[in-house]
């Protein structure tokens, strides 16, 4: 682990103790996990601390792990300290039956649409979001398409009328 990442890890452990865990450094980015109640506090701490200064939200997305009971959905934040050029990745796992988590929109305006997108595709309910509705899909949609229980169409299916899709038939 690079020296700076060690300092970050130490500072977080001092502040949050066991509630931050699973520290890893993969491909140069420090990655760790935190409790779902803590996500906002942790990001706020990373933002405010004079030494850490993670003031730029690069990316926010979710991942679905259907096999992990009670922690099926992961929300992944990529934060960036632009002054020292350090990136970190924060992960929060939540239960798919209670997909509630605090919004980061109070801290980052950028989180607004990123959270809407995550809500749109994974059905995560960001508590306190000013305008949590679908963004890329139609509003009438009643499922969350990026979840793994909605597989893509079987490419070998033959029950479809190919002519309707411009394939097959007589041209």
């Amino acid at each position: 682990m690079s020296p700076k990442n060690d300092i970050i890890k130490q500072k977080l452990q001092e502040k949050f103790g066991d509630q931050v865990c699973d520290f890893q450094e993969t491909y140069g980015i420090l990655s760790f996990e935190t409790d779902k109640e803590l996500n906002l506090k942790l990001i706020q701490f990373l933002y405010d601390d004079a030494e850490l200064q993670f003031k730029f939200l690069t990316d926010l997305c979710a991942v679905h792990y259907p096999d992990q009971a009670e922690r099926e959905l992961a929300i992944v934040y990529h934060l960036h300290n632009l002054v020292e050029n350090i990136r970190i990745r924060v992960k929060v796992y939540i239960n798919i039956n209670h997909p509630n988590i605090y919004t980061a929109t109070k801290l980052f305006e950028a989180a607004n649409w990123m959270e809407r997108e995550t809500h749109d595709f994974y059905g995560i309910n960001f508590i306190g979001h000013p305008n949590l509705k679908r963004i890329l899909n139609v509003e009438e949609m009643d499922y969350f398409p990026m979840r793994k229980n909605y597989p893509l169409e079987d490419q070998t299916r033959i029950d479809k009328d190919d002519e309707m899709f411009g394939r097959g038939g007589n041209f």
Partner: protein, 408 residues
């Protein structure tokens, strides 16, 4: 008070003091399929709401079923004004995950192409700002040189707009002499054209009055909104992925990052214009470096990775091993190592990131694109609040919004 039986107005519409106007989804000024619902008080914008998603194609979902090399054509269709940057950004992400080292010559060739793509993207954006302020001439004039850039793409990979250029590990073939000749021609002719293009706008009083002070954003707000690329730099923050986290040997080149101060439409235009000069500078340096290779190195155009790089056709027909690799690659029968990687490149309109999670299978477990203009388009409502409608149009085009990228 109103007693007209023939016209059925929605309730409350007479008392309403403002006008609702739909800009888009197919308005000529949106330059892409997205919508703005603006609330107007006379000509002033009271509030704006953006609607996007009209060309959402579920790339992230589709990518979960495709082997790595088949995802390249999906990235073409993100920012289609500078497709090679997306292609190479994706290839670099794969190379990072697979821990492949790339020969220097490939790096330099990629830099040439990526900078050409940056020029073509900025050229479109800047000339479109001109069109939206009423100056069509510049747009038509520079098209000729975008065409030349597309011809270079064509020489390198065979296609022009959605290029699907390169492979994991390098290029599908070496650059032809014609490609280098066209590049030389571009380097010789384009600076003069760019100078002339600048003369049309930079000190043009009408253009300055239309763009200065409109659509401005402070550095602090821009960072909070997740701005990257020229739009962030116009607000005065010197963040550029090419400098901060050099990829593809960008550390070997000498260039400066132009920075604005006010973050308004005029500064965005200037930053893009200056970046084109810097790109020409980088291409010249890279071309010199490419020419300096001698002996066997002078013909290197890909890394030696038989698991991911398709063997030459001639060998596929004659050698068993090459045939096996060809089959395995085409059928996507190669397991990707387990891992999680985030890689970003300086796309033409901001930081284009790829977040790839592999569970050791043959396709990505999850792929997320960090699309710069999806993120900064959020600020449009704030940028245009209180502005005149015609300024809002200029703001929209100077943000360089690409619907394909926004909707993924």
């Amino acid at each position: 008070m109103l007693n007209n039986k023939h016209i059925n107005l929605p309730e409350g519409s007479i008392e309403k003091k403002t006008t609702t106007l739909n800009l888009g989804p197919t308005h000529p000024a949106t330059h892409g399929v997205f919508q703005n619902i603006v609330e107007l008080d006379g000509e002033r914008i009271v509030s704006a709401e953006q609607t996007i998603g009209y060309i959402h194609r579920a790339f992230e979902k589709i990518a979960e079923r495709r082997p790595l090399y088949q995802i390249t054509p999906l990235t073409d269709r993100l920012n289609y004004c500078s497709a090679p940057i997306n292609n190479m950004g994706w290839h670099m992400t794969c190379e990072k995950l697979l821990r492949i080292t790339i020969p220097k010559r490939v790096d330099y060739l990629r830099v040439i192409i990526m900078e050409l793509a940056r020029i073509s993207d900025h050229l479109i954006c800047n000339s479109i700002v001109g069109v939206d302020t009423g100056a069509y001439t510049g747009f038509l004039y520079v098209m000729q040189y975008r065409e030349l850039i597309y011809e270079i793409y064509e020489e390198v990979c065979g296609s022009r707009l959605t290029t699907n250029m390169g492979r994991i590990g390098g290029f599908e073939r070496d650059f032809t002499n014609a490609a280098f000749q066209k590049l030389e021609m571009f380097l010789k002719e384009y600076p003069k054209v760019l100078k002339e293009f600048e003369n049309l706008f930079q000190r043009n009083r009408i253009f300055m009055e239309r763009t200065m002070g409109t659509g401005a954003i402070s550095a602090e707000r821009a960072l909070n909104y997740g701005f990257t690329g020229p739009n962030l730099r116009a607000a005065g923050v010197d963040y550029d992925v090419r400098i901060h986290t050099p990829y593809r040997s960008y550390e070997d080149f000498e260039f400066t990052i132009p920075v604005g101060t006010t973050g308004d439409n005029y500064d965005r235009w200037l930053v893009r214009s200056q970046e084109m000069w810097q790109s020409i500078n980088i291409i010249e340096q890279a071309y010199k470096k490419v020419q300096a290779f001698t002996g066997a190195e002078a013909g290197v155009f890909h890394a030696d990775i038989p698991e991911y790089y398709l063997p030459e056709k001639k060998e596929v027909y004659n050698k068993m091993e090459a045939l096996i690799w060809h089959f395995k690659i085409i059928m996507g029968e190669i397991d990707i190592p387990l891992g999680e990687v985030y890689h970003s490149v300086e796309g033409a309109n901001g930081e284009l990131g790829f977040y790839l999670i592999s569970d050791g299978g043959r396709t990505p477990y999850r792929l997320h694109f960090r699309r710069p203009c999806f993120i900064y388009y959020q600020a449009y409502a704030e940028l245009t609040k209180g502005a005149i409608l015609s300024d809002a149009i200029v703001t929209m085009s100077s943000l360089n919004l690409i619907a394909g990228e926004m909707d993924a």
